[in-house]
C-alpha cells in the first residue's frame, strides 16, 4: 500500500507543479530562516564572547567608565583616574554569590601608549596570558623593572626582547613579546607587574586598580551578577559578551530565542498556506477521491495519501531550506569574519520543523477527504 501511495503522491505533486512549488517554497522559507538565523545568532554570540573567552573571563567590571566602552582598551584607559577603585574591592567582588574569581587589572594610558598592570600569578584569567607570549618569557610576581610588549608595537618601534622601553619615569627591560588578538578588549602596548604599574601612579593612587576580570559559576547568571555589581559600586560598568554585541555596529544582532520565534511564526504561516492549498487540491481531486473509495480504498487509505503529499512537500522544503539556510548563514557569518561549521542539530531541527509542519498542514484537508462519501466525490465534475 505504502509504495503506491508514495508513487501516487509524487506524481500528484508533479502534476500540480505550480502549487507544489509554492507550498515547498513556504517550507523552504521557514527552514532557511531557522537555519540562517539560529546559526548566525550562535555564531554572533560566539564571536562577541570570544574577546572575553580569550582572556578566560565571563565579564569585565570597569570601575569608572560612565558608558559601555567601544571595544578597545584605550577607552578603558581614558577613564582610569575618574573613579579610583581600591584593590581590596576585588576581594569583595570575589565574595559575591555566583562569582568564582575576580582578577585585578590596572590599565592606563600615557599619550598614545596603553599600559596594563597584571598579576602574573593569574595564569588562567588575565589581560595577557602565558599562551600569548611569542618570544621571551611571561612575567613573574618577583619581576620588577621588566615588561611584556605587544609584538606589533615592538615591531613598529624596533624593540626586541632584551631592549629597553620607557615607562613612566624609568627604563624597563623587555622580557617577552606577546601576541594579543585585536578583538581582546584589554589589548595594550605594554604589560607590567601590577605593583610596578601602581607604583607609576600618583602617590595617592597607590594600590588602586580599575578593572576586575570576573569568572562566574553559571554564565546564565551574568546579568544578575552584573546588577549586583552596579548596585554596590555606583559608577562601575560591568561588561558581558551581550553588551559587546549590542555596541557593535554594522551587523544586525539577533538572539537565538528570537530566531526560533521568527521561524515558528513563519512555520504557522506556511502551515496555514499549505492547508489552504491542500484544500484546493482536495476540491480539485474530489472525483479521484471518489474513484479510490469506489474501488475499495478506506478513509484512512485516502487520508494517508493526503498526508504523504503534505509531508513530502514539507520534507522536500526541509532539505532545500537547510541548503538555502546554510548559504545565508555562511554569508551572514562571513560579514563578521566568523564562518564556522553549522551545527547538524539545527539542520535536523529545521528538517523536523518542515516535516511536522507538512504533516500538520495535511491534517485538516485529510479530515475533509475522509468526510466525503464516494457518491459526493463522484458527483463532482
Amino acid at each position: 500500500m505504502v509504495l503506491i501511495t508514495y508513487i501516487y503522491a509524487l506524481k500528484e505533486l508533479k502534476r500540480r507543479k505550480y502549487r507544489t512549488v509554492i507550498n515547498i517554497t513556504g517550507f523552504v522559507i521557514v527552514v532557511a530562516t531557522l537555519v540562517a538565523l539560529v546559526t548566525t545568532a550562535r555564531g554572533w554570540e560566539a564571536a562577541t564572547a570570544e574577546p572575553l573567552k580569550d582572556i578566560g573571563t565571563d565579564m569585565i567590571m570597569i570601575y569608572s567608565a560612565p558608558v559601555v566602552p567601544s571595544g578597545t582598551g584605550c577607552y578603558i584607559a581614558n577613564h582610569l583616574f575618574s573613579f579610583p577603585f581600591n584593590q581590596s574591592n576585588i576581594a569583595e567582588i570575589s565574595e559575591i554569590e555566583g562569582v568564582n574569581r575576580a582578577v585585578p587589572v590596572l590599565m592606563h594610558r600615557m599619550g598614545a601608549v596603553v599600559f596594563t598592570g597584571i598579576d602574573p600569578r593569574e595564569t588562567k584569567t588575565n589581560a595577557v596570558l602565558p599562551g600569548n607570549v611569542v618570544e621571551g618569557r611571561y612575567l613573574t610576581s618577583e619581576d620588577g623593572d621588566v615588561v611584556l610588549v605587544d609584538r606589533e608595537y615592538a615591531r613598529l618601534n624596533n624593540l626586541t626582547v632584551g631592549s629597553e622601553v620607557r615607562y613612566m619615569k624609568g627604563m624597563y627591560e623587555i622580557v617577552g613579546l606577546v601576541d594579543v588578538d585585536a578583538a581582546n578588549i584589554l589589548k595594550s602596548h605594554i604589560y607590567v607587574n601590577l605593583p610596578v604599574g601602581q607604583k607609576g601612579l600618583p602617590d595617592d593612587n597607590i594600590g588602586l586598580v580599575n578593572i576586575a576580570l570576573i569568572s562566574v559559576s553559571d554564565p546564565r547568571k551574568v546579568d544578575d551578577i552584573s546588577e549586583t555589581l552596579t548596585r554596590r559600586w555606583l559608577g562601575a560598568t560591568p561588561i558581558a559578551a551581550s553588551d559587546l554585541a549590542a555596541t557593535t555596529s554594522g551587523v544586525i544582532t539577533i538572539g537565538e530565542e528570537m530566531a526560533w520565534n521568527v521561524s515558528f511564526t513563519l512555520a504557522v504561516v506556511a502551515v496555514l498556506f499549505t492547508i489552504r492549498s491542500q484544500l484546493a487540491a482536495v476540491a480539485e481531486r474530489s472525483r479521484e477521491i471518489g474513484i479510490l473509495k469506489a474501488i475499495g480504498w478506506s478513509k484512512s487509505d485516502v487520508m494517508i495519501q493526503m498526508f504523504i503529499e503534505s509531508a513530502l512537500q514539507g520534507a522536500i522544503g526541509g532539505v532545500v531550506g537547510c541548503v538555502v539556510g546554510c548559504g545565508f548563514a555562511w554569508y551572514f557569518l562571513s560579514t563578521i569574519g566568523r564562518v564556522s561549521s553549522i551545527d547538524p542539530t539545527i539542520l535536523v531541527a529545521g528538517f523536523c520543523v518542515a516535516l511536522v509542519s507538512g504533516i500538520a498542514a495535511g491534517l485538516y484537508p485529510s479530515w475533509r477527504v475522509a468526510k466525503l462519501t464516494p457518491m459526493e466525490a463522484l458527483r463532482t465534475v
Binding site: M1, L3, I4, T5, I7, Y8, K11, E12, K14, R15, R287, E288, I291, L292, K293, A294, I295, G296, W297, S298, K299, D301, T373, P374, M375, L378
Partner: protein, 239 residues
Amino acid sequence: MGKWNVIELQGLSRVYYLKSGEEIRAVDSVDLVVPEGEFLTVIGPSGSGKTTLLNLVGGLDMPTSGKVIVDGLDVSRLSEAELVKFRREKVGFVFQSFNLIPTLTAVENVEAPLAPTDMPKAKRIERAKYLLKLVGLRGKIDRLPIELSMGEQQRVAIARAFANEPKVLLLDEPTGNLDTVTGKEIMKLCHEASKNRGQTVVAVTHASYIEEYTDRLLYMRDGRITNEIPEAELERTIT
C-alpha cells in the same frame, strides 16, 4: 437446482429531499433478483434512476428504504469498514467516463484496488499485468491514461474492475463515450467475464447492440423497473 441469487433487491427506494421540500424518488420500490453469472442490462431514459440503482447495489449509496443483498450481505446494514471491504472484494465498477487516475500508469491504475489488500507488491503488479494482457493492452501497461485512446482507457477501467475478482461487475454506461466497434469489444469483454468467470454483470447502457451480449433486458422509468419495454425504446435501443 436454480442458480444462487447474487443480487436481491427488496422494496428498494432511494429518495432525495431537495431544500425546497420537494422529494425525488430516484429509485422507487424496486424488487429484483439477479442470479449468479447473469448479464442483466437496464435501459431507460436519462434521470430514470439507473445510475442510482447501480450505486445502491455497489454500496456507494445507501437506500432510504428496502434492502440490497449482494452475495448474501445486506449492504444497507454494513458498517463503514465492512462497506470498504465489500466495495473492495465484492464489486467492480466501470464508469462511462472511465474514471482512471490521470497521474497513474495503466498498470498502476489496475493495481490501485489491490493496494489496500495484503497481496505483496510483486503479485499485485503481476496480476495487473495479466489483466491488462487479458483486455488486450499488453504493450501499453506503462502508459498514462492520456496516452491511451478512449477504448483503451475503458479497457484499463475494466481490467481494474476485474482486479479483485469481484462477484458483481457494475457497468455504468461503459460504452457511452465509445464508437460502435470499440463499444462492442468492451461489451464482449464484459460478456466473456460473465460467462467464463461466473461473474454477475449489471449494465446500464443506451448501446443499440446490447442485445447481443445481455441475458435479460429491463426498463427503468421514474425509479421503477419493469420487464415491459416501450416499443419506441426497444426500437431505439435494439436495432
